[in-house]
């Protein structure tokens, strides 16, 4: 009876206690300290004279990848308390000559990466370990092999493994870029206009390992990836012997066979093409009778069907298919200035997304299908803007001055397949160079350092 009485008295307090629930909200984010000592060479320096170059390439590529993830700060080598060149890759006591976790813990290391490589019969072998230092836990223990010359690929794989182990999500370090550039435009004596030549190139995400895939000796522009990463679409001003004229035709290039196929060569522009996410159809801009409209064809360029239809004289260009394949973002000047619109995949339900600015173009979807990044003309120059698919939360991502003090143009954005980066073109250096940036406008990073021009980069889908 007494207990019951006590309980009755407690009831109001219990009711109160149950109500104390606090939503703490989003965490502040901090980078983790990552120790990346030089890789040990475990082979014979006599039989592998290129070991220094191979080791340095592996190391530099991995370090750059980890840096680009923006997850880590690197522990200064001067702070190391032990010499990674003389301690084993495994910790004590399992390895007699092993390293001590305490030596790394005391200098604030959260992650330690230890690797050694060997070169045998033109093959690189890497043995690598990722440790979580505070817990003394092994997170990754793997061996990698590849031909000499594939150092970048090996290092990208190592970086992807680290990212996947930590986040459970695939890393982007083996994804590719395709872009148009004038970097190989050599002037033949009889062609003073040669500087306008642009070819199509494929490269690693960091614009290393660049391969030219066209040799059209003309203007080749607007490349786009097939979802399987095995082919790219591009538009080239191809010469038509019958009419003795050049026409911007749509081609497909197979990376394995190195062959180009003509997809669409209707008179006028055949450009701005993109595959649907299933790879079965292509959406592109075709000008018929002076009107630029968006059309759908199958992947062989057959079964043409128009998706937009005017109004008369209006441009409907640059289709970008949403990741779910259900809608198309595009730019159109149907209401005056070119703006970003979204419509259903069949061309119905056209909705205007951007209202501000004078000229908004080149939309690219975030992989989650929630946002679009586009280039907007504002105060005499282009900048990147992010907007939700509902047209709200418009944010400026770029703003940079050229060396002459004038505002630079930042345009042609394309999302990375993990949604954490955007590649784009900026002329802030005086030339149109490739850069990347995070979707929150932070972490701007220059990718090319030359005197050439780059156009319309497109980030591939995940390659594995």
């Amino acid at each position: 009876m007494k207990i019951l009485f006590m309980l009755l008295l407690l009831v109001p307090q219990l009711a109160l206690a149950e109500k104390i629930y606090i939503k703490v909200g989003n965490a502040s984010v901090k980078k983790s300290m990552f120790a990346l000592p030089a890789f040990q060479f475990s082979g014979s320096t006599v039989s592998s004279p290129n070991y220094v170059r191979v080791g340095s390439e592996l190391y530099k590529t991995l370090q750059n990848d980890l840096d680009v993830s923006y997850f880590f700060d690197f522990v200064d080598r001067k702070a190391f308390l032990e010499d990674p060149a003389t301690t084993a890759l495994r910790p004590k006591p399992s390895a007699p000559n092993g390293f001590l976790f305490s030596n790394w813990r005391s200098i604030g290391t959260e992650f330690l990466y230890r690797a050694a490589y060997n070169i045998k019969a033109n093959k690189i072998e890497v043995e690598a370990y990722l440790y979580h230092v505070p817990k003394g836990e092994t997170l990754v223990a793997r061996k990698y092999t590849g031909d000499v010359g594939s150092e970048n690929e090996i290092a990208h794989t190592m970086a992807n493994d680290i990212i996947f182990r930590l986040t459970g999500k695939k890393g982007i370090f083996k994804t590719k870029l395709v872009f148009s550039s004038d970097r190989d435009a050599v002037c033949p004596k009889k062609s003073p206009n040669c500087t306008k030549w642009k070819e199509i190139y494929v490269s690693d995400y960091n614009v290393k390992n660049v391969t030219r895939i066209t040799r059209q000796r003309t203007i080749s522009i607007s490349p786009a990836w097939a979802p399987d990463g095995k082919s790219v679409l591009y538009t080239s001003y191809a010469y038509h012997p019958k009419t003795k004229q050049r026409n911007p035709d749509l081609f497909s290039y197979e990376l394995d066979t190195k062959k180009s196929f003509l997809i669409s060569w209707r008179k006028g522009v055949n450009s701005g093409a993109t595959y649907t996410p299933d790879g079965d159809n292509i959406f592109l801009t075709i000008t018929k009778g002076g009107n630029a409209d968006i059309y759908r064809t199958d992947k062989d360029g057959q079964k043409l069907r128009n998706i937009t239809n005017g109004p008369l004289g209006a441009l409907n260009v640059e289709p970008a298919i949403s990741p779910d394949g259900k809608s198309i973002a595009f730019s159109s000047d149907r209401h005056g200035n070119p703006m970003i619109y979204i419509m259903d995949i069949n061309g119905k339900n056209v909705k205007r997304i951007t209202k501000a600015g004078k000229y908004n173009s080149t939309p690219s979807w975030s992989p989650d299908g929630e946002n679009l990044v586009f280039a907007g003309f504002d105060n005499g120059h282009f900048d990147l803007f992010l907007v939700s698919k509902d047209g709200i939360n418009l944010t400026r991502l770029t703003k940079a001055k050229k060396t002459n003090g004038k505002w630079s143009n930042n345009e042609d954005p394309s999302f990375s397949p993990d949604g954490r980066h955007i590649v784009f073109v900026s002329d802030r250096s005086g030339k149109k160079q490739l850069y990347m940036i995070s979707p929150d406008g932070k972490n701007e990073r220059r990718l090319t350092f030359d005197n050439d021009n780059y156009f319309k980069p497109k980030w591939s889908y995940m390659m594995e």
Binding site: A17, I20, S28, V29, K30, S32
Partner: protein
């Protein structure tokens, strides 16, 4: 001339008015300095329960029905210590010749009586408790099932301080951001604000994330000291935290 007179009169009134104002101001200043009023204590305010508790009046007849019983019983209680069995026993001891059956009977009778008395006592106690349970205005200062007034303000204020305190310690590594994880932890803290216990009540599915949540609680200790009114709740029942919600 008239005008100047009026001006003079006006001037006179003005001067008087100023002197009066200054005098009143001085009076209040002196009162404020030398006879300070007692500060108003919000903390000591009496909590008035506005919850509909019945008036005392209608309750009175109810205990009447029960109250007479204990009244009748209490006199019974007094004769209870009557050492009835004792004289029996003494008599037995003196005479030594009375048979065992009689002895037994008297003992049993005594026990019966004692049991009966005990029962009455218990019943009385029970009734007293029931009577005490009857809540009527004036006999009870409950803590209130619904927080209101000052206590509600204090409670909200404390929760807000608790929330901002934890938030300032809540950080995760960049690689853990955007993983769309959620965990819930239950924490009890001492009256001084130190963590007594912490337990993940809903795991995120990612151990590293749960570890970060636990580490955040460790870093955040000591928490803001709860006021006397909440310290028991926070020490016994604690509170739950959702990371991030």
């Amino acid at each position: 001339m008239k005008e100047t007179n009026e001006q003079n009169n006006l001037g006179g009134f003005f001067v008087k008015s100023v002197i009066l104002h200054i005098a009143i101001l001085l009076l209040f200043s002196i009162q404020a300095v030398f006879f300070p009023s007692e500060p108003i204590s919000l903390d000591g305010a009496i909590l008035v329960d506005i919850v509909s508790i019945q008036d005392k009046l209608p309750v009175v007849p109810k205990p009447k029905a029960k109250a007479p019983e204990p009244k009748k019983e209490t006199p019974k209680q007094k004769p209870a210590p009557k050492p009835e069995p004792k004289p029996d026993l003494k008599a037995i001891a003196k005479k030594k010749a009375i048979n065992l059956q009689k002895q037994k009977k008297t003992r049993e009778d005594a026990l019966k009586r004692m049991r009966a008395l005990q029962k009455i006592e218990e019943e009385q106690e029970q009734k007293e408790q029931e009577a005490a349970k009857q809540v009527y205005k004036g006999n009870q200062l409950s803590k209130g099932s619904q927080l209101s007034g000052i206590q509600k303000l204090q409670y909200d204020d404390y929760l807000a301080r608790l929330e901002s305190h934890i938030k300032s310690f809540w950080s995760i590594p960049a690689w853990m951001a955007n993983l769309d994880l959620r965990a819930e932890i239950s924490v009890r803290i001492s009256p001084e604000g130190y963590v007594i216990s912490k337990k993940i009540t809903k795991a995120s599915g990612n151990k590293s994330y749960d570890d970060q949540v636990v580490a955040t609680i460790e870093r955040a200790s000591p928490f803001p000291r709860p006021s006397d009114k909440f310290k028991d709740i926070l020490a016994n029942e604690g509170f739950r935290l959702g990371f991030p919600e």
